[in-house]
């Protein structure tokens, strides 16, 4: 007699309940530990991100339900929104000036602080302090006072040179420059990273170079900079992203309007005004996604060019 079996292995297929129970028994504790992050990620990051992607294709004013509008928001941003053009111009100017200058100042100070001089730990902490405070509202308010028409900067300028300085933050020609100076002043973070990078450059390379007759300048160009390139690259990418996202300084200094004459209308500030002043949430979401694409393009360019100027010691080329 022949019998036909549907389960040749003789084993019963594991039930869904059994499989979950086994996974839970094996990894349950891990998932429990993961839960706070997972809830935060899904609820506060992934969820809003996907929601904003959806909203960017809608008209939405917070009071009525979103209405699907297809690519209208993106079309408007690309072809009709002249104020957005100004915001992009201001933001690009800010990024292109503040990032290189901030990195240059950070590197120079890191090199000074890399020397074994008395009280160097104090100076390191002092120079890092602006980074902790720099993006805060209080500092932006203080900055507004310092650079006001009758602020301390102008008083000092008059005292030293006799020149009456302009109203730095209310004059369209100077407002953005003032914010760039504020950004440069927050050089602490990249400086600390540069300092760590400098510590990694073997001292005997400098000794070998000095025996080869290389001046300090040549040592800087031929040894310090190339060996620091990965750190420079890291700082460049990080600071570029930060600069594109800059918001607080412009908001406080310009009183939340990006003035005078839109001269401090940062992209993030314009996005904020569209969302929370004009209640065009759908358009603001589209702007957020456009900013993401802009940052992604810049980052991609940085990564793409890095193979020509960034040397990693473990690479085989």
């Amino acid at each position: 007699m022949t019998s036909v079996s549907t389960n040749p292995g003789g084993r019963s297929a594991p039930s869904t309940e059994g499989r979950f129970a086994r996974i839970w028994r094996r990894n349950g504790a891990g998932y429990l530990f993961l839960l706070p992050w997972l809830v935060g990620f899904l609820g506060l990051t992934l969820g809003p991100t996907l929601a904003s992607l959806y909203l960017s294709f809608t008209d939405y004013d917070l009071l009525t339900s979103p209405r699907w509008s297809g690519l209208k928001n993106y079309e408007y941003a690309a072809f009709y929104d002249r104020r957005l053009g100004k915001a992009i111009e201001v933001t690009f100017t800010y990024v292109l000036w503040s990032v290189p200058l901030k990195l240059t100042v950070a590197l120079l100070l890191a090199m000074v602080l890399d020397r074994s001089v008395r009280g160097v730990a104090f100076y390191r902490a002092t120079f890092y302090l602006p980074s902790l405070l720099g993006a805060s509202v209080a500092i932006a308010v203080l900055w507004r006072q310092l650079f006001g028409a009758d602020g301390l900067i102008n008083q000092l300028l008059f005292f030293v040179t006799g020149i009456q300085g302009p109203a730095w933050i209310t004059h369209p020609d100077y407002a953005l420059s003032t914010l760039i100076v504020l950004a440069i002043w927050q050089f602490g973070s990249p400086m600390i990273i540069f300092l760590a990078g400098l510590r990694q450059v073997p001292q005997d390379l400098y000794e070998a170079a000095s025996m080869d007759g290389a001046s300090g300048w040549r040592q800087f160009w031929k040894i310090t900079l190339p060996l620091l390139a990965p750190v420079i690259f890291f700082n460049l990418v990080l600071q570029t992203i930060e600069a594109f996202k800059a918001f607080t300084q412009a908001y406080i200094v310009s009183g939340g309007l990006g003035g005078p004459v839109d001269s401090t209308m940062f992209y993030s500030l314009y996005l904020y005004l569209e969302a929370f002043a004009n209640f065009r949430m759908g358009y603001a979401s589209a702007l957020a996604w456009i900013l993401l694409v802009i940052i992604a393009i810049f980052t991609a360019i940085a990564f793409g060019t890095s193979k020509y100027w960034v040397y990693y010691e473990d690479e085989q080329r």
């Binding site: 005997d204 390379l205 000794e207 080869d212 040894i223 390139a229 040397y311 010691e313 690479e315 085989q316």
Partner: protein, 361 residues
Amino acid sequence: MAELELQNVIKEFGGLRVIHGIDLKVEDGEFVVFVGPSGCGKSTLLRMIAGLEEISGGDVLIDGAVVNEMPAAKRELAMVFQSYALYPHMSVRKNLAFGLETMKVPKAEIEQKVQEAADILQINELLERKPGQLSGGQRQRVAIGRAIVREPQIFLFDEPLSNLDAELRMQMRVEINRLHRRLGATMIFVTHDQVEAMTLADKIVVLRKGLIEQVGTPLELYNTPANVFVAGFLGSPRMNFLPGTITSVSGTTATIELEGGHSLTTEIPNPPAQGEVVTLGIRPESLVPVPEAEAVLSGEVQIAEQLGGETYVYVALPHGGTVTVEIKGQARVEAGDRLFLGFEGGKFHIFGADEKVIRHA
């Protein structure tokens, strides 16, 4: 090529003196090895010669001119570092050319010199590679090449072989030796390895705690060490030291009683007084198995190491302590055997209570 002279050279780090007044002369074309244990100041001394460390006192002279304040680059020296110190982001060719480019040597000349160095060191096929793609031995060659292209007055080597494995060290020793003969340059080589010192040097400088213990040719130091330290430092396996006491003195003839009861009578030019403590130093190859009646020492074999060409036998003495015996060939000795030992041809040294030699073998 050049002569080098150190006159009462002193180095202090924050009040702590680490080099205590060194006097030394290195002749033109000589290969001098600074040897000593870790912390003896040999690398510091080399770095002072190189101009990488300030001199706290005394003078460094190159060809008779004091160079104390002269920057490293102007001393016309080249240094091979322990870590190789190759520029990791530059190709081998760029590494070799870096010093010449700095000196603004014409490109064609740089290319020619790099090629010559590559030929000498047989690294032609490595010229376009980066240091990260090279083995330890290849990096070492490049580091030496970087020194060669500059045609320095003096080559300085700071423990250049210490990161290589045993076989490669031996190979590089031979190459450095060959290089010295070929270039005829003055070379100063720092090492803590006495085999490197013995095999490479025209002249060895033994250092301890910032002081020169002895200067001489390898065989001078091996055969006539000035003190217990030099005697123990040079030679592998190291010299055996046996404590003893002068039991009688008659003119230049003294009798020494060794711990364990054996005694021996020998000639000592200026013998210490009766009752003084001395140390007998005898190299492992000078200890030979003898019949019991002729034995100066006896003990039980602990370990016998068969190396093929020779056998190292470690013998425990009855009063404590161990001596090493080197027997040519493959000795039939096993752990637990009792061995009676004599001094071959009276080849032993005697050191006084101050550890200075009072009789050479």
